[in-house]
């Protein structure tokens, strides 16, 4: 199925813009561990919108924006107040504030704003599909000036919000970063972390209201939190985290939008809600990032752990053959194991018998040396009893590359430490 400008240009544009500005701001919510402020905000702007609408009778962008921003500030102030007076955790304080405000919004819509264009369902679910345009049906016939002229007001709101969000992040990058990681230090550096918090919250409220038409207010939560979380699983640097989150958000917006009709079309059913599809895609990307992330991914840590387990098994094998040879015993040639096979492949053990080669002996000596030196250290320096040091030394010998320096040449059990006395 092809995209046509008339049907898809503005919805797609709206989805991308909403995704980008939410993702940008979401980074700071996730880092400051106030992700749920996005949740609270997206619920509590509802009464702001309704009251602004009831007072002015208009649904124009500036009116809605002011209503939402005031509701957003009220949310932050109320949460702070309840946290302080009620001595409850921030989560519960947010829960009280946003649920009461949302209930107020729903009641106001039912009582006063019924039969108007404002209804709770559209605020909740988003109406991307309503942004259709009576324009050309092929992309080649599309002119830039034509697009600008035809762009509906909600697109312009999104463009402005998006530009402002980008400006905020670029201009105040240093301050936002400091406030995200160490607000107290930021305050001591001469800018108020509290003021910055309020600025950020106003932007989140603004982004919420700009985006609710495109993705719906509940899904704004996903747009705020999930891209930044995805990026957090993939990178450690703030600048690259922001980049990754924006890329993930755009990818989810585009593929979610196209997928919402392309996949049902292929299956022969009617198309599904586009905004919902975008969050589904975001969820899938998050699962993929959690599973496949290079450093923090589940798969990566399984691989790392497996590699470590194999290394420890090899170390232990070499060390026990070394100890057997040290005592003049031989190891039964009938031993079979994958670790032994690996030791043979790497030339540590002779192919025909369970005996160490020259390289194998050097490697084994290094392991045994680390083990015995750790035992000496634990007895001499850490004051452990002689019969208690084997188990901890057995762990430390694999985990530590550096070994304690001083050596008496003999371990606490009287065995020589390889590589010291013989040198």
């Amino acid at each position: 199925m092809m995209l046509s400008p008339a049907l898809d240009l503005f919805p797609l544009l709206a989805a991308i813009l909403a995704a980008v500005c939410c993702a940008l701001l979401g980074n700071f919510l996730v880092l400051r561990r106030i992700s749920l402020m996005g949740d609270a905000m997206s619920h509590s702007v509802l009464p702001g919108l309704v009251i602004a609408f009831l007072i002015t009778g208009s649904r124009s962008a500036p009116v809605m924006f002011v209503g939402a921003a005031l509701a957003g500030i009220a949310t932050v102030v109320l949460v702070e107040l309840i946290k302080r007076l009620g001595r409850v955790e921030p989560g519960a304080a947010m829960g009280v504030v946003f649920s009461v405000l949302f209930a107020l919004g729903v009641l106001l819509i039912e009582r006063a704003a019924r039969n108007t264009e404002l209804d709770a369902d559209c605020v909740l679910h988003g109406q991307l599909e309503s942004l259709v345009w009576d324009g050309p049906s092929s992309w080649s016939a599309l002119g830039l000036s034509e697009v600008i002229q035809a762009a509906p007001p909600s697109i312009w709101t999104l463009v402005i919000t998006c530009v402002l969000a980008i400006l905020l992040v670029v201009v105040l990058f240093k301050e936002l970063r400091l406030a995200a990681f160490d607000p107290a230090f930021g305050t001591s550096q001469g800018f108020s972390a509290t003021a910055l918090h309020y600025v950020l919250m106003v932007f989140v409220a603004g982004a919420t209201v700009a985006a609710f038409e495109a993705v719906g207010s509940i899904l704004v939560i996903a747009m705020l939190i999930v891209p930044a979380s995805i990026a957090r699983l993939l990178t450690d640097r703030l600048a690259s985290q922001i980049m990754v989150s924006v890329v993930a958000a755009i990818a989810a917006a585009v593929s979610g939008y196209i997928g919402s009709f392309a996949i049902p079309d292929a299956l022969g059913v009617t198309e599904v809600n586009a905004a919902g599809s975008m969050t589904v895609v975001l969820g899938l990307i998050l699962v993929a990032a959690a599973a496949l992330g290079p450093r923090y991914g589940v798969l990566a840590s399984i691989v790392r752990r497996g590699r470590m387990a194999r290394r420890i098994a090899l170390d232990n094998l070499l060390a026990s053959v070394f100890r057997a040879e040290e005592r003049g015993r031989s190891v039964s040639a009938a031993v079979r194991s994958s670790t032994l096979a690996r030791a043979r492949r790497r030339g540590f053990v002779k192919p025909d018998a369970v005996e160490l080669t020259e390289t194998g002996r050097a490697a084994a000596a290094a392991v045994v040396r680390r083990h015995r030196m750790w035992e000496s250290y634990l007895v001499d320096e850490a004051g452990l009893a002689q019969d208690h040091v084997h188990a901890p030394a057995e762990q430390l010998e694999h985990l530590m590359d550096t070994t304690p320096n001083e050596s008496t040449g003999r371990d606490p059990h009287g065995r020589p430490i390889p590589g010291t006395s013989s040198d």
């Binding site: 519960a92 829960g95 009582r111 809600n273």
Partner: protein, 443 residues
């Protein structure tokens, strides 16, 4: 159920509703909402103490795909998809899945709890929205109508039947019974999970019980208040109760009562007034009780806190005044009169707001420490003694801070000013003795 009539009609109807005389169905709704509020209030205390309040929000939002999935399964198996138990079962299963996902994110990724809750909430709800849009097309559901599914988003108390009210009552009994039976264990787990673990309790099992109760209440609340607002039932009563008490037993009791009352009153208001969705009204009733408590609660309310703070400030200002007057008297060799302009100077020095001056001076006069004279004021005998005591405390503190706390001489005055007012006489005596001992040793 209600007709907008004249004012007396409305009052009569309100009385009828509140006294269970407005018909069988209305009674069922009232009883069901009250029982639900009770159960949610009691369970909410445990959620609050375990810092799990917003997990309930994620569970609530995450039930949407469960409801729709249950509808689709029921239709596929040949039903109408309208059976409430089936839909609620789907919701419960998905609520559990949401809890599982939150814990999986916390266990396997570096993301924090807030992000985990937000992710599960947003993504599950997104899946729900997609599925809801899918079932809108009759072709996808074999002609079964999904009408009513979206009542789960905002709730529809009016649809509550006697059977549902019974279910809520059973739920409330179960919740209260579980909390009473496991009170000791749950309290320990809530306040000090590590200690509970050391004592040999299975904290995981206790947590699972609490989460299970949260899921149960959330699912039960779907029908009444809807999945967005169900979190309010679990959060508002305990947070309100928290303002009134610091002890666990009263906390559970008050939270239960607040939940019960707001559920009942909210449902009643919604039954009497037209076009008032019960879910919102119940939540707003809870909000009103909360705001009221926030203002008037005796210990932690805003008014009490502000009153205590003002009293403390006045007491400190009075102490300052007495001390200064005493020093003034000493430096003037027994001159007891305090002229008006000295009082002005003191007021400027300490930056008293205009309203404070009469209160401070009046308070001192009422306590018989000072009296008014022609030229200004004068300390009485007890006033002089009191001023001497304060001045001596101040000196003692300066000494102590210089000697034991290694504070620079230039900083001592400021620090003593703050602490001398908060010490009990016993502590001052103790310090004095300690200082005397230390002094004799040093000399």
């Amino acid at each position: 159920m209600s007709t907008t009539g004249s004012q007396p009609g409305l009052v009569r109807e309100a009385v009828e509703v509140l006294t269970f005389q407005a018909g069988y169905n209305t009674n069922a709704v009232l009883a069901g909402s009250a029982m639900l509020g009770l159960a949610a209030g009691v369970v909410g205390v445990l959620a609050l103490l375990r810092r799990r309040s917003l997990v309930a929000d994620a569970i609530g939002h995450a039930t949407l795909p469960g409801v729709v999935a249950a509808f689709l399964v029921a239709v596929a198996l040949g039903g109408t998809g309208r059976s409430l138990p089936v839909l609620l079962l789907g919701a419960a299963i998905n609520g559990m899945a949401a809890v599982g996902c939150i814990f999986a994110i916390l266990r396997y990724t570096r993301l924090r709890e807030d992000a985990a809750i937000g992710i599960v909430l947003g993504v599950f709800f997104g899946v729900g929205v997609v599925m809801l849009s899918y079932v809108q097309d009759p072709a996808n559901t074999g002609g079964a109508s999904p009408a009513g599914l979206h009542h789960f988003i905002y709730g529809q108390t009016a649809a509550m039947r006697a059977g549902d009210a019974m279910f809520m009552a059973v739920l409330a009994v179960v919740a209260v019974a579980v909390v009473l039976t496991l009170f000791k264990e749950l309290a320990l787990g809530a306040f000090n999970a590590d200690f509970a673990r050391v004592l040999g309790y299975h904290v995981g099992v206790l947590d699972a019980i609490v989460l299970g109760l949260i899921v149960l209440v959330t699912v039960a609340g779907l029908q009444a208040v809807g999945l967005i607002l169900v979190v309010a039932l679990l959060v508002i009563p305990p947070v309100t109760a928290r303002l009134w008490t610091d002890r666990l037993v009263p906390l559970v009791f008050i939270a239960g009562v607040v939940g019960l009352c707001t559920g009942f009153v909210g449902a009643a208001v919604s039954a009497v007034l037209p076009r008032t969705p019960a879910g919102s009204v119940i939540v707003l009733c809870g909000g009103a009780v909360f705001v009221l408590s926030l203002l008037v609660a005796p210990r932690h309310g805003a008014i009490a806190t502000a009153g205590r703070r003002i009293a403390q400030r006045l007491r400190i200002a009075g102490d300052h005044f007495l001390e200064a007057a005493y020093e003034h008297r000493v430096s003037r060799r027994g001159e007891t009169a305090i002229p008006q302009r000295t009082v002005d100077a003191m007021q400027r020095l300490w930056g008293w707001p205009v309203w404070m001056r009469p209160l401070v001076l009046g308070g001192l006069q009422r306590r018989g420490l000072m009296r008014r004279t022609e030229a200004g004021f004068e300390l009485t005998e007890p006033g002089i003694a009191s001023g001497a005591r304060i001045a001596r405390n101040h000196r003692l503190w300066e000494q102590y801070l210089l000697r034991y706390a290694d504070i620079a001489p230039g900083h001592v005055d400021w620090s003593t000013d703050m602490v001398e007012h908060v010490l009990s006489p016993e502590l001052v005596a103790e310090l004095e003795a300690a200082l005397a001992d230390g002094g004799s040793e040093n000399t």
